[in-house]
């Protein structure tokens, strides 16, 4: 079995603040997982805001180098410092959908020009009508069309339209691996389901693997094969998505599931969280020494020494 992506004991430390108040942030701590080539899957990363999900995605894309550990794509170490041709080949195989489309798009560049340059660069197309056709097809997959975005700048589109353009752009090179950082956070429930179904179809019909970063436990349950749950830079639980989400074991995972808002009490104004659950999960995040332990059902759960 060949390996598509191997994330091996990866950590990332940032230093932040001025000279006098410099602080170190451990954004990701010792993350490891593997995606296999012949088992395309939707691999979901869920977790606390600020727990290192985007940092992990940026390292997989080679935009950020790990402080420790290594990431390999098809056996080759991922790095933005790779030779140009190698880097270009990598980029055509691993495409990103960035977290916030308002920040990701250059405000001065027309959306269609953006998509066209992706087509030109990775598909080696130069014929205008062929490029238009590729763009239109990609846009149709996300419920848009070239006619709707033609000539328009990012600020002229709604949040959901922009987010869908970002997905369409990433689909153009037909990548075997898609890294989607909260790709559907700005679209309505109906469209969200159709985009999530599109990711599913990419996996099932075209063998594309997707790393799906989201805060939405319901769509995660609906499409994921495996899931990891992160808290303060650490993976706290990892395994088959339905097994984990149906009966989460780690206190933070349980807190997450218990905090999902429901519509069944619509109008009752329920926003309280069990303070005991919050306290327990918070204490573990600060625990110094821990490791992932395997359970009989195959999941990995972080356990704490001396706890």
């Amino acid at each position: 079995m060949s390996t598509l992506l191997e994330v091996s004991h990866v950590s990332k430390t940032f230093s932040m603040g001025g000279l006098l108040s410099r602080q170190h942030v451990q954004a990701v701590q010792d993350a490891s997982f593997t995606l296999e080539t012949d088992r395309p899957e939707i691999f979901t990363i869920i977790g606390e805001s600020g727990s290192g999900k985007t940092t992990l995605a940026r390292m997989i894309l080679g935009l950020e180098l790990p402080s420790e550990g290594e990431i390999r794509f098809r056996g080759q170490t991922v790095s933005h410092k790779a030779p140009r041709a190698e880097r270009l080949a990598f980029m055509s195989h691993v495409q990103p959908v960035f977290q916030n489309p308002f920040e990701a798009f250059n405000p001065l560049k027309r959306i269609d020009r953006y998509l066209a340059s992706t087509a030109r660069r990775f598909l080696d197309l130069s014929d205008e009508s062929a490029i238009d056709k590729v763009m239109d097809e990609a846009l149709h997959k996300v419920g848009l069309s070239l006619a709707e975005v033609h000539g328009r700048y990012p600020h002229e589109l709604s949040g959901g339209q922009l987010q869908r353009c970002a997905i369409a752009r990433a689909l153009i090179p037909n990548p075997p691996l898609l890294i989607a950082d909260e790709p559907v956070s700005m679209v309505d429930a109906s469209l969200r389901m159709s985009i999530v179904n599109l990711l599913k179809a990419l996996r099932d019909d075209f063998g594309v693997s997707v790393i799906y970063i989201t805060h939405d436990l319901a769509t995660a349950y609906y499409i994921s094969n495996r899931i990891i749950i992160m808290q303060k830079g650490r993976i706290v639980e990892m395994g088959d998505a339905r097994t984990v989400l149906e009966a989460p074991e780690h206190p933070y995972s349980r807190l997450l599931k218990a905090s999902v808002l429901s519509t069944e009490d619509a109008g009752a104004g329920k926003l309280a969280t069990d303070p005991e659950m919050v306290r327990v999960a918070g204490e573990l995040a600060a625990a110094p020494s821990s490791h992932l332990a395997e359970r009989p059902d195959g999941r990995l759960v972080r356990v704490y020494e001396g706890a």
Partner: protein, 344 residues
């Protein structure tokens, strides 16, 4: 002092453009009349690109060409002082910003200057309205950020050094630290995990209650509306098509589009296909005749194709724009099962 803090009357606001010599008009806000009361949270939902952001941009007096108010008024009553932001001068609008009226924009972190530390940005916007400086100011801000689950050291950070959700919370912090009377928020919690999201929503609601302030917010997340809003309004193709008390909107919707929205929510533990809406979103440059929802509506009859349904009152605080509102039923089993007992 009246009960209403905001009155929107017959508001029409269009993007009027000239594309390669062709005139084009996107009617993003097309005849909206509604009010927001003091001491209430009003939630807005609707399809992607239906005009929600456009609508609240007008409310926030944050519009610029080619977007123009074509007709109607947007009148605030701040402690007895009224101001129509569609006609007010820039100085008048600046005078109410942050202290009386604050606006959290969708996705855009443009209030955060990329080369300025977060702490400096707080000083720029909030020090004067709060009338605080030095230690006292810093303490106030740190205390406020703590409620958003942000540590004090974010004040030393540059925007790019924070995660997406941290930046989003910083903008919420900026918009709420002065405790304004009216808060406008566009998708304020999209980048937050569900635990932090609850904390942030609680904070917004606490500020609102403490001050008797009003909040109007847009989100696609219907479960947020369910737990935060007092009333919910649904926008479809530039129009307000239904508004009502939160509970009724979920359990006894009176517009087929609302019923669809509520039913399209996926749930953990459920992998069944959700009913998708047929057809494409309407083109706001050339919207359908009659009811704009008719091409996609399961209940549409001839009349719907010809005549625009007015937004009529169908219950206390409940208005809908549908010729067939009496035939609308909740579409999914969860809300159906609850609907009778819940509304009894």
């Amino acid at each position: 002092m009246t009960q209403d803090i905001l009155k929107v009357n017959g508001l029409k606001a269009y993007y009027q453009m000239n594309y390669f010599g062709v005139e084009r008009e996107v009617r993003a806000v097309d005849d909206i009349t509604m009010t927001v009361r003091r001491n209430e949270v009003y939630g807005i939902a609707g399809e992607s690109s239906s005009g929600k952001t456009s609508f609240i941009k007008v409310l926030a007096a944050a519009i610029r060409p080619p977007f123009r108010v074509v007709d109607g008024s947007v009148e605030y009553d701040f402690s007895g002082r009224t101001i129509d932001v569609t006609t007010a001068s820039e100085e008048e609008v600046e005078a109410i910003r942050w202290k009386h009226l604050s606006y959290i924009m969708q996705g855009s972190m443009s209030v955060l200057n990329p080369v300025r530390r977060i702490g400096k940005t707080f000083e720029d916007f909030a020090a004067r309205p709060l009338g605080l400086s030095g230690r006292a100011f810093r303490e106030r801000v740190v205390g406020h950020l703590a409620k958003l689950k942000l540590p004090p050291n974010v004040l030393n950070a540059y925007p790019h050094e924070l995660s997406g959700g941290m930046r989003q919370r910083v903008t919420i912090g900026l918009a709420t630290v002065c405790h304004p009377e009216f808060i406008i928020a566009d998708e304020p919690t999209t980048a937050l995990d569900v635990v932090v999201q609850k904390e942030v929503l609680s904070l917004i609601r606490d500020i609102q209650r403490e001050m008797g302030a009003a909040v109007i917010f847009v989100t696609h997340d219907m479960s947020v509306h369910a737990n935060v809003a007092d009333r919910v309004g649904i926008i479809y193709a530039g129009r307000l098509v239904e508004e009502g008390p939160t509970r009724e909107m979920f359990f006894a919707p009176k517009h087929p589009y609302t019923a669809h929205l509520v039913a399209s929510l996926p749930r953990i533990g459920d992998t069944s296909q959700r009913p998708a809406l047929e057809g494409r979103p309407p083109n706001l440059a050339d919207p359908p005749q009659g009811c704009r929802f008719h091409p996609r509506c399961p209940l549409a009859v001839d009349k719907c194709r010809r005549e625009v349904p007015p937004l009529e009152t169908v219950g206390k605080d409940h208005r809908t724009a549908c010729w067939r509102w009496e035939d609308v039923e909740p579409l999914d089993h969860v809300h159906q099962a609850h609907s009778r007992e819940a509304m009894a």
